[in-house]
Chain length 393, copies 2
């Protein structure tokens, strides 16, 4: 595949600084091959060389010109990621490719089952990455992977930092110290979900008091909720923690993130998603998001409700595609139901952006959506779902 | 340049969804040429076709193989941006190239002066974009460009949204209504700084009261400050507002953003930057950022102090480069002084990440840095600046 490099030698290096200014150079791809092609003979010895191994399990592209080009681009993103991480001091991170056809023996041995996914082998754990295949998103995810699975909260400012990040599923436990048997069970459970679920702990009784935690107790925070749930039955074994988290890992409101976008999209409910678009940095979007959070908090125990919040700022290149596909205007907030099989959708009509629905009205609409279940019956209510009509019900 | 497309036809399309799932397709470049090459003959008629024209004023690359490749990649980023925005309903956004040598006549007529910059012509204003030349960052910036320059705050939730975004320079004014002469002056001033500085207004006396604003009064909010400054001498003309903002447009603490990274980096003070690395989503980083904000608030009127805060999460590909260039570990927060000519730097030694400097200690260090002015004298204090040593002074 060397001939591609001739044209792509400087792939993704687009930053420019004035002459004589330094300190902000975006890396250029240097053309060196760093990504290994893994086969039954070499995979063990190659994987032994690295602390972390990132393996792209890809479709076989032989004889398909379009797929081949696509694959070359993907390979380049991995090469750039490998080059950038080559400079990292602490960890050796290797990259490899396993072809669905030619590498089927390796795939079987390594337990790779979903083609087009990236598997990350780190510390005896296998992490599946089902996000954007872009160098920056993948590299940022890998920094999280190599961090410790449990973050310790030592003081009030760090506690404020803990509360500040409310967009992810997180847990916090209070333990005697790092050697505590119960902390070790907690740490082991953390490894199972790392880095998707964030685990925190404190050994400080004053911090624990502020978190309203008893010794060996763990609280579970759903995204965007104000109050946590205390996991019952302390002290817990690793298995008990794992089971609890698995039963609660689909939040009532969850944010679409580039590093897990496909994973979340594939986790539909009866082939549908309730999707809300809101730009947090915009006052209108912020307002709508506040209403949405209120509804989510009211319905946190409804297992049939999981709203995906998309901030258009995080996916600028998808905005015109969504506007066209869903026939909506993303300049204002939107909420709708999307059929993931054909991208058919119905949207709540919010004509006047100065007069948004109240949390009650929005809840009413969502209840109606859940009751009608499939889009055909929703569709019969017209192309656009009108709030006014709903309120007459 | 057609031959490039053969290999790059699917450039940047790396997202994959399971079979039968729709609604999340990252756009692929379709290979169609949309970016115009502007010359003295065609530029007027081409620019007339669009509401917004994005012009990349680039170096001449004839005879330089490396620069040519680099330029092709940049062109591709622009082509992808043009394609994505082609689907936009509201506005026609055109893209053009002006060659430093071949297009010098056009450059002169359009007033382009900084080579390697992007100039955006919209509503009789010229906006210089000096950020990352990547399709997503540029497209996101263009969405901001086509928004109204003044955002109206109608209710309490929107007011909360206004306060929520404290990372940018923003202004808010209270006016009678949209037709008010004073609002029109304010709106005209907004156009001069749009979209870099955010302008808000309210026509609601209750909201104005919560903002402590009198009629026709405008408050100026520096990033990360708790209290605004009221611009003196209300009511203001456009020129008075413009002058005030120009005198206050270098904040005490500012965040490096991809869309303006080069502009900020080039705005050094005596060839140096005080740079702080802190990951906001990490408790340690959050803690350090809180201390930094405290120092910035104490020193908001010091014209010689402007700290650049970099969240490593925003620049994942640059992290190993910075760690190598500055010889620091970005797993923990860092603060240092960087010479922009040679990227030479000295950093505050924070050995124990559990015991961060207090705001006073950090302020002491920064004062010392400003007093010593150039890195040579700082360097004589050793490779790393030790907090312990400083406190003995």
């Amino acid at each position: 595949m060397k001939w591609v490099w001739v044209f792509l030698g400087v792939f993704l290096s687009m930053g420019t600084l004035s002459w004589g200014e330094m300190g902000l150079e975006v890396p250029e791809y240097d053309g060196k091959d760093r990504v290994h092609v893994l086969n039954a003979k070499n995979y063990k010895s190659i994987m032994k060389k690295y602390d972390v191994m990132v393996i792209y399990y890809h479709k076989n592209v032989d004889g398909n010109r379009g797929a081949m080009k696509q694959f070359q681009i993907e390979e380049l993103a991995l090469e750039l990621a490998a080059q950038v991480l080559d400079d990292l001091d602490d960890e050796d991170i290797g990259f490899g490719l396993v072809d669905e056809k030619k590498g089927s023996a390796v795939a079987k041995k390594l337990g790779l089952d979903e083609v087009e996914s990236i598997y990350i082998f780190a510390d005896n754990e296998i992490i599946e990455y089902d996000g954007e295949l872009a160098a920056d998103t993948l590299v940022e995810f890998l920094y999280d992977v190599i961090e410790e699975p449990v973050e310790i909260i030592d003081n009030d400012r760090e506690l404020k930092g803990f509360f500040n990040n409310d967009e992810v599923i997180k847990l916090v436990g209070y333990f005697k110290n790092e050697k505590s048997r119960h902390f070790i069970e907690y740490d082991d459970a953390a490894e199972e979900f790392h880095p998707f679920v964030k685990f925190f702990a404190t050994f400080d009784p004053k911090i624990a008091k502020k978190l309203k935690l008893k010794l060996n107790e763990v609280d579970f925070y759903e995204p965007f909720m104000e109050e946590p749930d205390t996991i019952p039955g302390k002290p817990y074994t690793e298995d008990e923690l794992v089971e609890y988290i698995e039963q609660h890992d689909r939040p009532t409101l969850r944010k679409l993130e580039p590093h897990s976008m496909y994973e979340i999209w594939e986790d539909d409910i009866d082939g549908e998603h309730i999707v809300a678009f809101a730009e947090e940095d915009d006052p209108d979007g912020f307002e709508f998001l506040e209403i949405l959070k209120e509804v989510a908090r009211e319905n946190t125990y409804n297992p049939n409700l999981s709203i995906i919040w998309i901030d258009p700022d995080d996916f600028p290149l998808l905005v015109p595609y969504w506007e066209k596909t869903f026939r909506i205007d993303l300049a204002s907030p939107q909420i709708g139901v999307v059929d993931v099989e054909d991208a058919d959708s119905v949207w709540l009509e919010m004509d006047d952006q100065d007069d948004m629905p109240t949390a009650d009205e929005l809840e009413h609409w969502i209840e109606d959506v859940l009751r009608n279940k499939n889009l055909n019956s929703l569709d019969s209510l017209k192309d656009h779902y009108s709030l006014g009509k709903l309120l007459q019900n």
